[in-house]
């Protein structure tokens, strides 16, 4: 029943008696939601550590695509299952596929496969979710993050909860994450706990403070996990590991128990959200080169048509501050043992279509005293659906 009174559209019921309009019967298809995104990236990398034949720094240019598709299926009122695929190879922190290899077909792999169980009704102020499987990162992260690359999908069990009122919200997250299952040795795992408080002083101003404990188990003395087959420790200190034929593998020289303190002040200026955030990290298992720092600011959010976001982050991550293989893969080429700045901008051209640009000005190889510069520029076109 639709009517028009002046400029007013009366699209549904009024107080007058209405005919009974039963809700259509739901089918199985109504319980499944498909989501995905596609990214086309142009990037340049000037890495001083990689010289060409003339011993000059070479600026690499490449174009890459990333495509992700996930189905979210409602199991019942409390549970849902998410199964998602992403382009990419074995790299756990990148779904990119580089164009220009003779037009070969690109790989697409299982990126997400998890059960999300909601212990409580999400209309209440208290929430408690349990996750099992290969999941989205269950931990609170910053706009940029010292510990985690945004593409990582951890594997194991997690519990996420929050409770509070209009003024204070308390968050608590637990993780039991598998790193490497070993047939005749102790498995490498991560046991993690995170707590945070968010103070919402007025709708326009909030302060979040928190701490995370990441207890990595059984990495020290074990061969590094390297999906590239290059014996790469992604910045971490190594010692001699197992011998395989003529190859002596590298093994982690230290264990990792990073403790991260974080804070974020969020407020609004002239109708735009502003976030000032920071993280301080210390690996309590290492005796040196064990610190990490991150400070940043962002303005705006690029989500609805015509909106934009700009931001700046400074990051410093010492060699053994955390496990290098899971840190951001873009700044200084990934891993630890680097420092530098990132500026970025995003612009929402139209619904679900976004342009982005980022520039990284970094140094790496700092612990050796022979640091080299690493500059990287990325231009992205992102379509989400």
């Amino acid at each position: 029943m639709a009517a028009s009174v002046g400029g007013m559209c009366l699209a549904a019921e009024t107080n007058a008696p209405a005919a009974a309009t039963p809700v259509p019967v739901k089918t199985w298809a109504d319980s499944i939601t498909l989501k995905g995104d596609f990214r086309y990236r142009y990037e340049t990398i000037a890495d001083d550590a990689k010289k060409n034949a003339s011993k000059e720094t070479y600026t690499r240019e490449r174009e890459r695509v990333r495509a992700r598709l996930a189905a979210e299926a409602k199991v019942n009122d409390q549970a849902k299952v998410v199964i998602g695929f992403s382009t990419g190879g074995n790299d756990p922190i990148s779904g990119n596929q580089t164009l220009g290899d003779g037009g070969q077909k690109k790989e697409m792999k299982l990126d997400l496969a998890y059960l999300d169980f909601n212990f409580l009704n999400d209309t209440s102020a208290t929430e408690l979710h349990g996750y099992a499987g290969k999941m989205k990162n269950p931990f609170m992260t910053m706009n940029d993050d010292l510990m985690w690359d945004g593409d990582l999908s951890p594997e194991g069990l997690a519990l996420k909860g929050q409770t509070g009122n209009d003024v204070v919200t308390a968050y608590g997250n637990l993780g039991y994450i598998w790193i490497q299952e070993r047939d005749s040795k102790d498995a490498a795992q991560l046991l993690a706990g995170q707590g945070a408080l968010k103070f919402q002083f007025i709708p326009e101003v909030s302060l979040t403070v928190g701490a995370s404990y990441y207890g990595f188990q059984n990495l020290q003395g074990y061969d590094v996990i390297d999906w590239e087959g290059k014996n790469n420790a992604y910045g971490n200190t190594t010692k001699k590991g197992s011998v395989s034929g003529s190859t002596t593998n590298k093994a982690w020289a230290t264990e990792f128990t990073p403790v991260v303190y974080f804070a974020s002040l969020d407020f609004w200026v002239a109708g735009l959200p502003v976030s000032i955030f920071g993280q301080e990290l210390s690996n309590t298992d290492a005796s040196k080169l064990d610190q990490g720092h991150l400070y940043g600011v962002s303005l705006g959010k690029a989500k609805n048509k015509g909106t934009y976001e700009i931001g700046y982050t400074y990051t410093e991550l010492e060699k053994d501050a955390t496990v290098g293989m899971w840190t951001d893969s873009d700044r200084w080429g990934g891993g630890t043992d680097g420092k530098g700045s990132k500026i970025y901008a995003k612009y929402q051209i139209m619904k679900n279509l976004q342009l982005g640009a980022a520039y990284f000005k970094d140094d790496k190889g700092i612990a050796s005293g022979k640091e080299t510069s690493y500059d990287r520029m990325q231009l992205d076109l992102v379509a989400a659906f």
Binding site: A11, A12, E13, N15, A18, V23, T123, N304, I349
Partner: protein, 274 residues
Amino acid sequence: MKKINNIMMILAAVGMGVSAAVAGDANNIVVDGSTTVGPIAKAFAEYYMGKHQAVNITVSESGSGNGAKSLINAACDVATMSRPMKNSEKKAAQDAGILAIEHIVALDGLSVIVHPSNPRSNLTIEQIRDIYTGKITNWKELGGQDQKIVVISRDTNSGTYESFNTLVLQEAKLKGGAEYVGSNGAIRQRVMSTEAAIGYVGLAFTEGVKSLKVNGVAPSAETVLAKTYPIARPLYMYTNGRTKEGTALDGFVNLYQTAEGKRIIEDTGFIPVK
């Protein structure tokens, strides 16, 4: 480097073009959301447009959840909701750069309604919950006739359902076989035409049906304001940011604070906020 410069120029040109295209119209207000709050929004719109000829207000009723989505997607200026925003909606708004500001515009009691011929005049919260969860299935179990109870509910996307779920069901699962309908008016219509039916609606939707007392208290403006009626709730409008004084949006959203706004709210069967 020439390639990068060219790309930057293209991006700048696209940006300028799109910026010019997305300019808003301060005299055009889009309202979307709750079917419960809808009558208030429509009456406000009619009144406000009558006073301000240059202002155009469209009101749609796609449900509280869809109202929240519309606000988050910048598809409406005002989201009407018969429940507060969920944590997940607040998070989505924050991620989208939307500052959801809450305005409690009125109060409502959820009336539990039966056919006029039904002899019952009172039910306890526990009895209502037992009916909706399937523990009580026949009116004779409550001293009535030997009739199987026809349980009518709002669809689970509605704010009215969520309020009922919280205040009465206390998150218990609704019985299988319950009929779900898409509006308060549809529930009333179904109960009016079905002797053994029971439903729940906002206070404004009780004409032609019998409203039951709950825990011995009749649903009314007085009992809701006195907080003695146990199934009562605030009704909301949400805006993106605080409204600017002197704008049409500010005048429309804050009508509920004026004498005329309070009269409109009463006329539509709801309770003005004191």
